[in-house]
């Protein structure tokens, strides 16, 4: 047969490479059975391999294994016994010719560290969880599962609370798949972890592949691919109930799950329920309210076909906090959150993020013979994500001599208790403050310390007074909302052409249609809210009628008064789709593993404006915009040299392109159809990414070492930011940064050493440098007066993009966690089923997120007259533009647990205490883009306390997590 010949050739090829040094014998044998040390139950699907060979077998349902069909190497060997969730055992054996070695019964110990997995999702700092977008978290769940790697396990358990991201790469560069369907969002490219949060019990079947390492499902991504298998048949029969208590984000979690296992009739089902709750975590006013349910049913039709349905629904609400300045944290502490205020005696947060996006999946698994399987998946997701806010821009329409105008948009700052005008620094901003200034600063300080929170009753009272006067509401509570429906199809094939060659491929198609709008949630005692932009009136170049037009959120329906449940401000539809495929070949020989893979995809976005925005009349905002299309491709290859049984060298490299996410493809998607390509010079391109890494591994029974060096370059990236700046006469702007080049270079080291069977030492270190490699192009857009110019095409004065040239970012650090991290730890695992561990973790070289706007040529130009400052001193300027580096710090974490067996129940607990010494540390922060010219930056730097100082996120002070569980 041809296949046979091919296999023979391949075998011959590798045999010729000539590393065969062990004698094989057909006569030798090895068998035994595996039991759970607790339950004495025989364990099925345990993999037994002979170390340094490709030979393996699995236990059957009775827990028995037998290498009888295999050719075994003779002499002293190590049998490795692996099962997910259990501690891997290495077992020295001697295989003699003609003798069948019977290992009888081998104990396998359940890895209680598995219980730790559930910590991961809550040790993330508040910022990461809340926003899921602001500063990205690493692909943590995947890391947790890859805990056999010392470095990644350190990154997951001990580094994650500091914004540390392996290689400085955010999770928009990582992929998460569930049952073969990619879960990353179109909007920001990130997986929305809360869509399956709280279901830890049923997410233990995870495969994590680092970076672009081969995996069966997808091409791979810079920060790795996590595949979560949530098929009903893949869960062990049994149940688990647990209760967790913590002071980090939720205060309590209760979780229960039960799996039937595959029953005799071929059916299997799994159900999981959980609730996480808390009125506040470490950060004040951050409520947590999350319920999760998961149901999966699978029917094994025959040996070849299985059909599975998995569905999960995890509605959750979180109270949001915000980054604060040094001044604020000095007065109120690092856990201060200005978003809440007392209402009816309880803390009420004005900013709540709510996510409710249930998913149902239908999966078909088809074993096409022993060597090939095909899975076909259909996923449907529907639901919404919303974030609430207060709107303080209420106005009233007045009519005067057939003209209309708006009054009441008094620009009231007072909803934010941490607004500069409520802080001492604001009153001491002048070079020589007067006695009255000092008095005001003192009063501000006392008020802020004593109160410093949102005054709900005051806001409501204002609206009630308005109602009495027949006026509209000044303040309303609203939500920014995204309703989306997504259909997802994928087919994944995995075939072993020979014992040594495996081919993986997939095609997938995903389409999403979303509606995005602001919606009034509560009128707070008012009767209605006039849906106009009061700031539109501030443009001296336009007549009152033009201003009134500009102010409309929807010209089709001007001067609308909206009430609860009405959409206002903006309203648009977005359609996004992607069609892609990947193909990969893996060749495994005794000495060399090799893979090569490629991918192509096509991504399209189209915005459809449902409101005709006053600033952008006609098709610029209303109806369908142009269709954006990105064609992407990529290739990767890698090789592993197995020097001997204990040492191996890995090398892998890739080049691929990545389409911008919706967020980075539209400059101001709420207001208009303009794409980034429309506002910048030239077309927006896909990001181009190249990466190479080289790793060396030692794995002996006692010592495990991994040392990896990497280099990643990202080019043509786009980043869009929104903020208010004092520059350009004071404007709310969208900052579009294009052609960004970044470089991530560094190394990772992980070492573990088993001193005694019970004591293990571990060490991990990361050393990196993440910098910008070029000066990207900066373009600002805004609807404020200083951006309006006469447009000859439309014969009207209109907002126009303003290119500001290059932002001089080259050699600045890319913000995102410490570039250097190191860990030393020790673990003691008592044979009596208890264990403790302590780690000491050091972090340094974390940098603030710089303001690109401050680093354009405009910095040296006087905004008053447009000519360079005559007092510009390059030495001082250098100092003003220096990137802040955060202080280094050390965190000590403790962990421990114990388990018992009570009849047929396992009962256990584990607890962690993080940051034992209560170290106060900054995890990240950003410069405010208020004062972006030399003179005002200098003025600001001369103040004892800056008025618009950088804002920071703080890491958790000492925190605990306790989990108690029963398994049956």
């Amino acid at each position: 047969m041809k296949t046979f010949q091919f296999r023979k050739k391949i075998f011959f090829l590798f045999a010729c490479v000539g590393f065969i040094s062990i004698n094989y014998s057909q006569q030798a044998g090895l068998k035994g059975s595996i039991v759970d040390v607790f339950t004495n139950e025989y364990l099925a699907d345990v993999t037994v391999t002979i170390k340094g060979t490709l030979i393996f077998t699995n236990t059957n349902d009775q827990g028995e294994f037998d290498f009888n069909k295999n050719v075994l190497p003779l002499g002293e060997q190590i049998a490795v016994i692996l099962k997910k969730g259990y501690i891997t055992k290495q077992f020295p054996i001697t295989i003699n010719q003609g003798i069948i070695l019977d290992l009888k019964t081998i104990d396998l110990e359940y890895d209680f560290k598995q219980e730790q997995l559930s910590i991961g999702t809550i040790s993330l700092s508040d910022n990461e969880l809340d926003e899921g977008d602001a500063t990205s978290s690493y692909n943590l769940s995947g890391l947790l599962n890859a805990s056999r790697d010392v470095f990644l396990s350190a990154a997951a358990f001990d580094f994650s609370s500091t914004f540390f991201r392996p290689r400085g790469i955010g999770n928009e560069y990582g992929k998460v798949l569930i049952n073969g369907l990619e879960m990353n969002k179109f909007s920001n490219g990130r997986p929305q972890w809360s869509n399956w949060g709280g279901l830890n019990d049923v997410q233990r079947n995870q495969e994590f592949s680092m970076g672009i390492a081969p995996n069966e499902y997808t091409f791979g991504a810079l920060s790795g691919t996590t595949h979560i298998n949530m098929r009903a048949s893949q869960y062990r029969k049994g149940g688990r109930i647990s209760y967790a208590s913590s002071n980090r984000s939720y205060t309590g979690r209760i979780m229960g799950s039960y799996s039937s296992g595959v029953m005799n009739n071929g059916w299997a089902y799994t159900i999981a329920l959980s609730r996480r709750y808390g009125n506040e975590g470490i950060i004040e006013g951050t409520l947590y309210d999350a319920n999760s349910i998961f149901v999966a049913i699978e029917k094994k039709i025959n040996e070849s076909h299985s059909i599975n349905i998995s569905s999960f629904y995890t509605p959750n609400r979180r109270g949001i906090s915000t980054a604060i300045t040094d001044e604020v944290s000095a007065l109120k502490g690092s856990t201060y959150n200005p978003n809440w205020g007392y209402f009816n005696g309880k803390k009420k947060n004005s900013r709540i993020r709510k996510i409710e996006e249930p998913i149902v999946m239908l999966n078909h698994y088809w074993n096409m013979g022993e060597k090939t399987n095909l899975q076909t998946n259909i996923g449907l997701q529907t639901g919404n994500i919303s974030t609430t806010r207060l709107d303080n821009g209420g106005t009233d329409l007045i009519t005067f001599n057939d003209q209309v105008s708006y009054v009441g948009g008094g620009g009231s700052n007072d909803t934010n208790p941490a607004h500069p005008s409520n802080l001492p620094s604001y009153y001491l901003r002048d070079v020589n403050p007067t006695a009255l200034d000092f008095q005001k600063a003192y009063l501000a300080e006392q008020r802020f310390i004593k109160d410093g929170q949102l005054d709900w009753n005051q806001l409501i009272q204002v609206n009630q007074l308005n109602t009495q006067q027949g006026k509209n509401a000044t303040y309303i509570w609203y939500q920014d909302r995204n309703d989306s429906n997504q259909l997802h199809l994928s087919s994944i094939v995995n075939t072993e052409i020979t014992d040594r060659i495996q081919i993986n491929g997939s095609i997938n198609y995903k389409i999403m249609v979303s509606e995005n709008y602001a919606e009034v949630l509560d009128l707070m005692g008012g009767t209605g809210f006039l849906d106009v932009d009061g700031y539109a009136l501030n443009n001296a170049n336009l007549s009152i009628n033009e201003l009134i037009n500009n102010a409309q959120s929807d010209l089709q329906n001007p001067n609308r008064i909206v009430g609860v449940g009405d959409r206002y401000e903006y309203n648009y539809e977005m359609t996004a789709s992607t069609l892609g495929g990947f193909l990969q070949a893996q060749v495994k020989t005794k000495k060399i593993n090799f893979f090569i893979g490629g991918t192509i995809s096509q991504t399209s976005y189209q915005r459809n404006g449902l409101f005709e925005n006053g600033y952008f009349p006609g098709n610029e905002s209303f109806g369908k915009g142009s269709s954006l299309n990105f064609a992407d491709y990529g290739a990767k290859t890698g090789v592993t040299f197995k020097i001997d049984g204990r040492n191996q060298l890995d090398f892998q490299t890739t080049y691929f392109t990545k389409a911008p996410t919706i967020r980075n493809a539209y400059s101001n998607v709420r207001q208009n159809n303009n794409t980034v390509s429309d506002i910048v010079i030239g077309d927006q391109e896909s990001e181009k990414i190249q990466s190479v890494d080289v790793g060396y591994r030692i794995s002996s029974p006692k010592l495990k070492v991994r040392l990896t060096g990497y280099y990643t370059a990202i080019e043509d990236a786009t980043d869009i930011g929104f903020f208010y700046t004092n520059a350009l006469s004071g404007s709310f702007v969208q900052e579009t940064l294009t052609n960004i080049g970044k470089e991530h270079i560094g190394g990772e080291l992980g070492i573990s050493y088993q001193i005694t069977p019970t004591i293990k030492l571990k060490a991990a270190a990361a050393l990196g440098q993440f910098t910008y490699t070029n000066d990207p192009d900066l373009t600002l857009t805004s609807t404020s007066e200083s951006f309006t110019v006469f447009d000859e095409r439309d014969n009207a004065v209109k907002p126009s993009p303003r290119p500001l040239g290059k932002a001089l970012l080259k050699n600045y650090h890319v913000a995102g966690g410490p570039e250097r991290a190191a860990q030393l730890g020790v673990e003691y695992r008592d044979p009596d089923f208890w264990w403790v561990g302590i780690t000491s973790n050091y972090f340094s070289n974390a940098y603030i997120d710089i303001s690109p706007l401050k680093r354009t040529e405009n910095f040296s130009i006087d905004p008053e007259n447009g000519i360079p400052f005559n007092d510009y001193d390059p030495i001082i300027a250098r100092e003003l533009l220096k990137q802040e580096q955060f202080d280094e710090y050390m965190l000590v974490n403790l962990i421990g647990g114990k388990s018992w067996r009570v009849k047929k129940y396992y009962v256990g607990f584990f607890a962690t205490v993080n940051n034992v010494f209560d170290t106060l540390y900054k995890t990240g922060g950003f410069e405010q883009a208020r004062n972006v010219d030399y003179r005002s930056a200098l003025e600001e730097s001369n103040r004892t306390v800056p008025v618009y100082g950088s804002r920071y996120f703080y890491g958790n002070r000492t925190s605990y997590y306790l989990n108690i569980y029963v398994r049956f």
Binding site: G408, L436, M524, G525, S543
Partner: protein, 475 residues
């Protein structure tokens, strides 16, 4: 303990946890609006007038920049809010007056709070705690605030509720009806109404109608001339360039305006400031002004002229068809000569209320009737000069329905001739200013042209005006 028991206990535990795990919900349970009436003892209340009186005394003793600081506890000033920053035309100030109608005193409170309308709406009664505050003149207006060096500073926002106490009472404010000629410092910070006013034609009849405060020349405030239609007075309507209605176009018609009498930033001129444009009810289409524009050259033939050289010094103007009429007061137009620092160009015509002891002086000098139908290309020019004019006023009006009888002058309809330069208070008193050549040719019929002086024997209003070399010509 058997398995069932364990299960039961676990269930009970779980249910208990679930019940106790409620988290803040998204609903608002809106409380009832209740502003509690503050108990301010009657004995502690001081009138705004009394407070202003003590400042005036201090000013007499000391100087105009005097400041008094209050330290007696439990003293309160009470008043009604008449300013509203809802439309952004007031900034960090609150103006109150002492009565809902016919107020006798008003005062400005400077406070570092924006916006104020959200707490103190128009008509709300408030009490101002005095202890700790200071009173002085700021921007020309008596202002309560805190002492900031030697000036009145804004009350810190953090002390807002300590110093301004809301009463539950909201009242309807009846504006005080006032003529521009009645403006005085003791009417400052009151809610007033002026009837029969119009905007100067340059603002509303030109090629582009002016806005309240959005002209390229407007800095901080847009100042617009409001003219009285009954007398020649005018005053300034001042609107902040930060107001929400700054871009609204001024009305062409005439009517009434309600606003607060205050002063400009420099404190040297009276201003009216409105809360929002609905304060203007300009519904009378009959404007009281007229213009054919100006001409490049005067007519070649004289129709009527006078250089007053034939008049007798210090005697009322007479002859040559002139009518003089003293509508109010005792003063009239008379001949005058001087060759000192204030030269009279020989003999000229002069009017002044200085030393007249008049409460008001309105003095007319009217030309003989001019028939505009008998020739073409009529023009008018004259020269004016003044001394200490201040707020006294000279305007040029004409009538088509006056019967020529002095006693009926006040009953005839007089329209402002809005072309022609009349000397301003800021001009040199020792110079004569030409009116320029005023075109009359578009008008028809028989008209009288009058020079109308308005003043009184008070310091700001007792100015002197001089007129010379008047000539009406045609081609």
């Amino acid at each position: 303990m058997n398995i069932m028991n364990v299960k039961k206990r676990v269930t009970v535990l779980l249910v208990t946890i679930l019940i106790t795990s409620c988290v803040q919900n998204d609903d608002f349970d809106i409380p009832v609006l209740a502003i509690e009436e503050s108990v301010i003892p009657e004995s502690g209340i001081i009138g705004i007038g009394a407070v202003l009186g003590s400042l005036a005394q201090e000013q007499l003793k000391d100087d105009a920049e005097a400041i008094i600081t209050f330290d007696t506890p439990d003293q309160f000033v009470q008043g009604y809010v008449i300013s509203s920053d809802r439309a952004g035309n007031f900034f960090k100030e609150l103006i109150i007056q002492n009565a809902k109608e016919n107020p006798t005193a008003g005062i400005r409170i400077a406070i570092d709070v924006n916006p104020m309308f959200t707490s103190y709406e128009f008509g709300r009664k408030v009490y101002i705690k005095l202890a700790g505050l200071s009173l002085g003149i700021s921007n020309g207006v008596p202002t309560l605030g805190v002492l900031d060096g030697k000036v009145i500073g804004q009350i810190p926002s953090f002390s807002q509720n300590e110093y301004i106490i809301r009463s539950s009472e909201i009242t309807t404010i009846t504006p005080l009806e006032l003529g521009i000629e009645d403006f005085s410092n003791n009417k400052l910070s009151m809610f007033i109404k002026i009837n029969d006013v119009q905007f100067n034609k340059d603002a509303v009849l030109g090629t582009t109608t002016h806005t309240f405060a959005a002209e390229p020349t407007d800095q901080y405030d847009g100042e617009r001339i409001l003219e009285s239609c009954t007398l020649g007075y005018s005053c300034i309507l001042s609107t902040s360039t930060f107001s929400d209605f700054k871009g609204v176009l001024l009305p062409e018609k005439q009517g009434s305006i309600e606003g607060i009498l205050t002063k400009n930033f420099f404190g040297d001129a009276f201003n009216i400031v409105i809360n929002d444009p609905t304060a203007l009810v300009f519904d009378n289409p009959e404007r009281f002004d007229f213009s054919c524009g100006t001409a490049d050259i005067a007519g070649t033939t004289v129709l009527f002229s006078d250089d007053f050289e034939t008049q007798t010094n210090r005697k009322p103007i007479t002859g040559n068809g002139w009518t003089i009429f003293t509508q109010e007061g005792t003063e009239t137009w008379e001949a005058y000569t001087s060759d000192g620092t204030n030269p009279s160009q020989g003999i000229s015509a002069r009017v002044s209320s200085y030393g007249s002891e008049d409460e008001r002086t309105i003095a007319w000098l009217v030309t003989p009737s001019i028939n505009l139908d008998q020739q073409e290309g009529e023009t008018l020019h004259f020269e004016t000069s003044n001394s200490f004019a201040d707020l006294s006023n000279l305007d040029i009006v004409f009538s088509k329905n006056w019967d020529g009888n002095p006693t009926t002058i006040a009953n005839a309809r007089w329209i402002t001739l809005s072309e022609g330069y009349i000397i301003q208070n800021s001009d040199d008193f020792d110079e004569w200013y030409s009116s320029g050549i005023i075109d009359l040719s578009c008008e028809t019929g028989v008209v009288y042209i009058a020079f109308r002086y308005t003043g009184s024997d008070t310091e700001d209003f007792d100015g002197t005006y001089e007129l010379d070399n008047i000539s009406i010509d045609y081609n």
